[in-house]
Symmetry: C2
Subunit: 461 residues, 2 copies
């Protein structure tokens, strides 16, 4: 346990009410969105200003206390689990949107702003911030930067790093460093903004974020297609993109998810179907009309049993609600669910789906497919029972097999969830050893005492 | 001079014909696109493979010889000037396009591919790579990555770093390192790709590049507007973007350029006008029609004397040729022309233009305005005579004044040209000192002996 004078000093910095140390409070901050990683902090602080965070970091450095920064803790890589106890530094009370500028197409926010709240504010100004991790209802902006979040919209709009212009970060020393700026064009030395974007809280605490926005697309169409063959569905994704159309979203769910959705929502999906694709196109009214028509043709040519456009916003919303419900259904179907996050080049999707099926049959683990087909980022969700030790060992081998297969197809270990605790055992097989060495040295530049979110990303971190 | 055995070893590595050491050859590689920086190399090598580059770097490290990597040398920051003699490593003979993939929307190229050649190949596949530095006819892909190049299209499409998925780089040690991959979603440790993108050849030699592409926009419209007041033109840029329209390009030229264009091309521009704006919109046929109409309205409401759409591709091409001719005209108008590259937030454009006018009047230096209004990146081109020493000192003060003004307006030191030699004296005033310190330490990770393009970016580098 931390010494009473440390707790006392934290109370001085942020005020008594914003320092939590009761057992039930600490338990609340002991887990993230994964089902298999936990760690209990010794204290939780909820600062409201950059200055307070600077003082907390100085204290932590002086006493060599591990600090785990977090927002809503919705990540699914173990990234915000305080493995070494220490201080959980939770930024949810820094939740001001400081600026929205329509001419510059920029915004400045604090890290604790909830993504959905931000999007609602932008919508009133006819503006749009595309990255849309599926935790959007609760996740905070600081977390989305630290994890370089993706989401369904990234097929058209790119990921979080494509939208971060500038950051204020508090380094472990307490120094408040500014990197980047507020213009898209900025060529002053090495670009440190993308280094902190996706750094999973291991380099510093993000305290202020300047973002690039785009105008809100004027129109949207949603299409739904049903396939009797998963690999056909994978191939049709390739044919849409090959035809020069980049939909805003191309989402994929498998038979398991279709059945769960139908059980819960009764929207008339054929429960014997192997795949449902949900596709959004957005842009000007005229553009979405012609794109939707062309995609319908391609879906039919590609062998869809059913291919139709949502007749109105209500039907479109119903489909997207079903997609969300599907994800929830996966998590409730087993005690332990690992949402894998490998990503493959899009032209390898059919092969990827086939080989996942083989891995599932061989291992005996059910593998459910749901995710972002347009990015080659369909999450294979492997379900098992975490209380069974033997099962867990076999599970690890199965996850390794999935990863190795993705790498063989030219893919990557993680598309959007990050490494955290979940994938660090595999990192050295995914990256050039010299690149890992460089990353560790970069970590040491900013965090020489290794107090910023230790144990994450690398083995022996 | 380098010892004969070094030259001999270089000849062994790349072959005799690809090692240049004649005086006239060395002179050819002694300058870049600036008018005021030069440095003569001791030898020039033109490798054809990554393996050759690895051998060259090992040799350079062993003998502690400075290496200046370059492509076509079109940069305008002194970035590829070999200030310490040593080896110029020119990648123009590595000019293969290795892969273009329509489904994945990716390409893989060698560093010596000329940007325009690449674009021509992509056009045949109906694909598009947006970054368009105005040296596109000659500049090579490796250089555009090393400089993180911008251009007119960046207002809508972002800059080079938004398109780089993966890199192969040869480090000073000779180690061939792979960073990133071939998918847009890739969350494996710190993102080293944007570190090398924009590193100005100071970290390693880029030998292979994987790029993200987009489908080629189906249609395009060009609009031209003439203003009697520069600040009105600046304000109208804000009103277009504020209306939710992001044109592909918004280019600005001033009265000096209008007169030069009219002298050379006689296309009927009013020579008394203060500003011409050239605007491109692209996208689907229907989208560009409605956007062009709306922009025409906004131009007229914003006080344009003339506002019209190019009636066909021929007229559009004429306007864009005039824009290019304008830039050439600036360079031919004086012995020394410094194309400043400060960038300001778009909503400060009017103020920026007004204050540049004040600086010009106070200093007596003509300042011509030409550039990317949509990015707040209008290059103020200051002309003088580099043979007059007193003039050059006053020029330095004037450039500093421009930079300080841009910073006051929330802008940045360089929007797209980079630091190189040109702006390194100002870097410490533009960035957080701790960020500069971190950059230098990152440099030392990859290049501990400081042989990779030394003297660039920082003072005492």
């Amino acid at each position: 346990m931390l010494k009473p004078e440390i707790i006392h000093r934290l109370q001085e910095i942020v005020g008594k009410d914003d320092v939590l140390s009761a057992r039930e409070d600490l338990a609340t901050y002991s887990y993230d969105g994964t089902t298999n990683w936990t760690g209990t902090p010794e204290v939780v602080v909820l600062p409201r200003t950059t200055e307070q965070i600077s003082e907390i970091m100085k204290l932590a450095t002086r006493h060599h206390i591990a600090v785990t920064p977090r927002g809503a803790g919705t990540n699914i890589s173990g990234g915000s689990v305080p493995t070494r106890g220490g201080i959980v530094l939770c930024t949810v009370k820094m939740n001001r949107v400081l600026d929205i500028n329509k001419t510059n197409l920029t915004a400045m926010v604090e890290p604790g702003v909830v993504l959905q709240d931000f999007n609602n504010m932008l919508a009133k100004e006819n503006l749009f911030y595309p990255p849309d991790p599926q935790s959007f209802l609760g996740c905070t902006m600081g977390g989305t930067i630290a994890e370089n979040s993706g989401g369904p919209l990234c097929v058209k709009y790119g990921v979080t790093k494509h939208y971060v212009l500038g950051l204020e970060v508090v380094l472990p020393s307490g120094y408040v460093m500014k990197v980047g700026g507020s213009t898209v064009k900025n060529r002053t030395g090495y670009d440190l903004v993308p280094l902190f974007t996706g750094s999973e809280g291991t380099l510093g605490v993000i305290t202020r974020i300047t973002l690039r926005l785009i105008p809100r697309p004027a129109a949207r169409r949603t299409l739904m297609a049903i396939f009797d063959d998963m690999t056909l569905a994978g191939a049709v994704v390739s044919s849409i993109l090959g035809a020069g159309i980049v939909p805003a979203k191309i989402e994929f769910v498998d038979n398991f998810v279709i059945r769960r959705i139908e059980e819960k929502m009764k929207i008339g999906l054929p429960v014997d179907a192997k795949t449902m694709l949900l596709i959004d196109v957005d842009g000007s009214e005229a553009a979405v009309e012609s794109e939707a028509e062309r995609i319908l043709e391609l879906l039919k040519e590609g062998g869809a049993r059913i291919a139709r456009r949502a007749k109105d916003e209500t039907e479109a919303a119903l489909y997207w609600k079903a997609r969300s419900a599907g994800f929830a259904a996966i998590y409730s179907a087993a005690r332990t669910v690992i949402a894998e996050d490998v990503t493959v080049p899009r032209d390898r999707l059919s092969e990827y789906i086939q080989r996942l099926d083989e891995i599932s049959r061989k291992s005996g683990f059910p593998i459910v497919l749901i995710g972002h087909a347009g990015d080659g980022n369909i999450h294979p969700s492997v379900s098992t029972d975490s209380t069974d030790k033997e099962d867990l060992e076999r599970l690890e081998d199965t996850l390794t097999a999935i990863f190795e297969m993705a790498l063989e197809l030219g893919g990557t270990l993680s598309g959007e969830h990050g490494i955290g605790l979940e994938k660090k055992r595999l990192l050295s097989r995914a990256l050039d050893p010299m690149a890992i060495d460089a990353m560790r040295k970069i970590k040491a530049i900013f965090d020489p005492d290794n107090i910023m979110n230790p144990d994450k990303i690398w083995e022996n971190a």
